[in-house]
Amino acid sequence: MRAFTATTGAAVPLLEDDINTDAISPIQLARSLKPDYRRMLFMRTRWQADGTPDPAHVLNQPHFADPAILVTGENFGCGSSREAAVWALQANGFSCLVAKSFNDQFRENCLQNGVLAITLPEALYAELVARVVAANGAPFTADLRTQTISGPGGEPIAFAVPEAERLVLLEGLDDIGLTVRHMAQIEAWEARMAESAPWLQSAVDRRG
């Protein structure tokens, strides 16, 4: 897995609630085995009918040309479980997301790809939003080692991440590798279940 230690770049305010994964990464552009994830991000609202950037979209504003941090509202990433939503954000430079809250599955997908997804207490969130809006593209740094977001307009803002998740992100630990260490226990579970609930350990078409 990709490790995350720190990122520096523009912090982009996208201050809406309930932004769903269809909006983040529409299926219309996912219909290729190798889609253009960079172009996919917010495709329906970011581009005009003729394919040129819509200057009104926050991501097309010149001062956000080098983004690293997305600041957004409640329930970010709701809807479809598609991981393309995370890949599209990454393809555009985002590796840290700050939201009022995240959809659970989306946040899991972030972790799987080394994307730091942070929530903050209300007052700190409000402070960050105000500073990010005022900064207008001036760089912020999210650092997982110090667990702070720093940038113009004030002192570094501390954030909390569960310690285990922090280690996984910092080390970029291989998720399957972590599980494979327990293979003997998985096999033992299967052997037990084959005795006590054999119908779970076999999926046989009885029609032959």
Binding site: E16, D17, D18, N20, D22, A23, P26, I27, Q28, A30, R31, S32, L33, R44, N75, C78, G79, S80, S81, R82, E83, V86, S101, N103, D104, Q105, E108, N109, Q112, N113, P162, A164, E165, L167, V168, L173, D175, I176, L178, T179, V180, R181, H182, Q185, I186, W189, E190, M193, S196, A197, P198, W199, L200, Q201, S202, A203, V204, D205, R206, R207
Partner: protein, 467 residues
């Protein structure tokens, strides 16, 4: 099964029975009894497996379907929807390479994963399931815990047959009262989402209980469980009862003989303990519920068909939603002109759904100017519907009777509306652009969709006399 004792919710009983170990990052390794892979996300996971030199650990517990990108046109093949071709072929190649069964494009049992899993008896009470799709919880109707997952997690479960998860919180939603005429599981589910909000169950495993659920058939319970994710729920399920066991018995992958008898004995213990404590315990009375219609751009923006769209009072998000939907604040929903109707999907694509719709359509015609289409949830459902003569009812009324696919629900197979069209749909998401760029989607039950098709406007189905 692990010994079941103490004050536990049903979720905890099934979870604990599938607990293998705790990882060093604190995640719980939970065994997945079955994995269903669809072609939109399968190929990418196969590619990851190849790159890492991994195999599919339990191909005997893994099944592949073709549902998201497959065309619905009669005589379809890999190339009917050209954008789907690489997915369908890569999925097939993956199934051959990694050695699991695929329900392919031309299989008489092809269909949407969430429909064919239960239909074939792959889903069992007390079992765990994993599908790289957010509507995985559909099959919770049989008392299984089914988890949606991303692509990297799919690779994980294919390589190991387990997921490394954080334990969800528990929620019980008790549905009290009795449903009125033409009020269905879809209306109940939309009402719940409208009440709790689109993140109201985020991170929770939701158990649906109470007399309304007990009175529902299994297909209706599937509709209810299906929509759990639309309020952020990690999974949704109903404690299995005699209705579930009778529904399951004799299905191709269900246990038989002595195994069936032993399984039944275990399954009858699958209930939350009387005094079990849920992180959230919610009661909703459904007695006065009306058929529901969404008016906005998420499933929580919903009201009874006789209701009014809210006044936005300067709320930017509401203004934006209503602007997209081309509806005035405070307007009535009834009477809004409809361009297109879709009946189908993992939400409402099963036989009782089609019967409810047919009861309204019988003896009527699709209104002039309305394009109406039905895509059954599976090829088995399609054949059964044809045996019941439902196809004739729809075709004679002017519906298109299409092949089975996710179709207009995901918009991934070329079936979609045109920009600006108002679509009345039995699917699960009314997000901006979900059914095509600029398409305005209203989510409803099959009977309400049928009523809209034959009248050409959003109509309270209760006001139409059944022919």
């Amino acid at each position: 099964m692990a010994e079941i004792s103490g004050k536990k919710t049903l979720f905890e009983k099934i979870w604990d029975a599938h607990f293998v170990a705790e990882r060093l990052d604190g995640r719980e390794i939970i065994y997945m009894d079955r994995t269903m892979v669809h072609e939109l996300h399968g190929p990418k996971a196969f590619e990851k497996l190849r790159k890492a030199g991994r195999r599919v650990r339990r191909p005997d517990l893994t099944f592949a379907v073709q549902d998201h990108t497959i065309a619905t046109r009669r005589g379809r093949d890999d190339t009917t929807n050209p954008e789907g071709t690489p997915f369908l072929r890569a999925q097939r190649a993956g199934a051959v390479e990694f050695g699991f069964r695929i329900f392919d494009v031309d299989d008489p049992e092809q269909g949407i994963s969430h429909v064919i899993g239960p239909e074939l008896g792959m889903v069992l009470p007390g079992a765990t399931h994993c599908v790289p799709d957010s509507h995985a919880a559909t099959v919770g109707a049989l008392g299984a815990l089914s988890f949606g997952c991303g692509t990297t997690e799919l690779e994980h479960v294919l390589a190991t047959q387990v997921l490394a998860m954080k334990r969800p919180k528990t929620m019980r939603i008790r549905l009290e009262g009795r449903l009125g005429r033409h009020v269905t599981a879809k209306d109940v589910a939309l009402h719940i989402i409208g009440t709790l909000g689109v993140s109201g169950a985020n991170g929770h495993a939701v158990e649906y209980a109470g007399p309304v659920v007990e009175a529902m058939g299994i297909e209706a319970r599937m509709t209810l469980c299906n929509l759990t994710v639309e309020m952020g729920g990690r999974t949704g399920f109903v404690a299995p009862d005699e209705t579930a066991f009778a529904w399951l018995e004799g299905r191709p992958f269900a246990p038989i003989g002595e195994d069936w008898a032993r399984a039944l004995e275990t399954w009858r213990m699958l209930r939350s303990d009387e005094d079990a404590v849920f992180d959230a315990d919610i009661v909703i009375d459904c007695s006065d519920l009306a058929p529901q219609v969404t008016w906005g751009t998420n499933p929580g923006q919903v009201t009874g068909v006789g209701g009014l769209v809210p006044a936005t009072q300067g709320d930017e998000a509401l203004d934006k939603a209503l602007g997209y939907m081309d509806i005035s604040p405070g307007a009535r929903l009834e009477g809004l002109k409809v361009d297109r109707v879709f009946i189908g999907s993992c939400t409402n694509g099963r036989i009782p759904d089609l019967e409810e719709a047919a009861a309204i359509v019988r003896g009527r015609k699709v209104a002039q100017g309305v394009i109406a289409m039905i895509s059954p949830g599976s090829t088995i459902v399609k054949r059964e519907a044809e045996a019941l003569g439902l196809d004739r009812v729809f075709i004679e009324a002017g519906f298109e009777w299409a092949e089975s696919a996710c179709s207009m629900c995901a918009g991934g197979n070329g079936d979609r509306g045109r920009p600006g069209e108002r679509v009345v749909s039995t699917t699960n998401r009314n997000f901006e652009g979900r059914q095509g760029p600029g398409v305005r989607t209203h989510l409803v039950s099959p009977a309400m969709a049928a009523a809209a098709a034959v009248t050409g406007v959003i109509t309270d189905v209760r006001k139409l006399e059944e022919a």
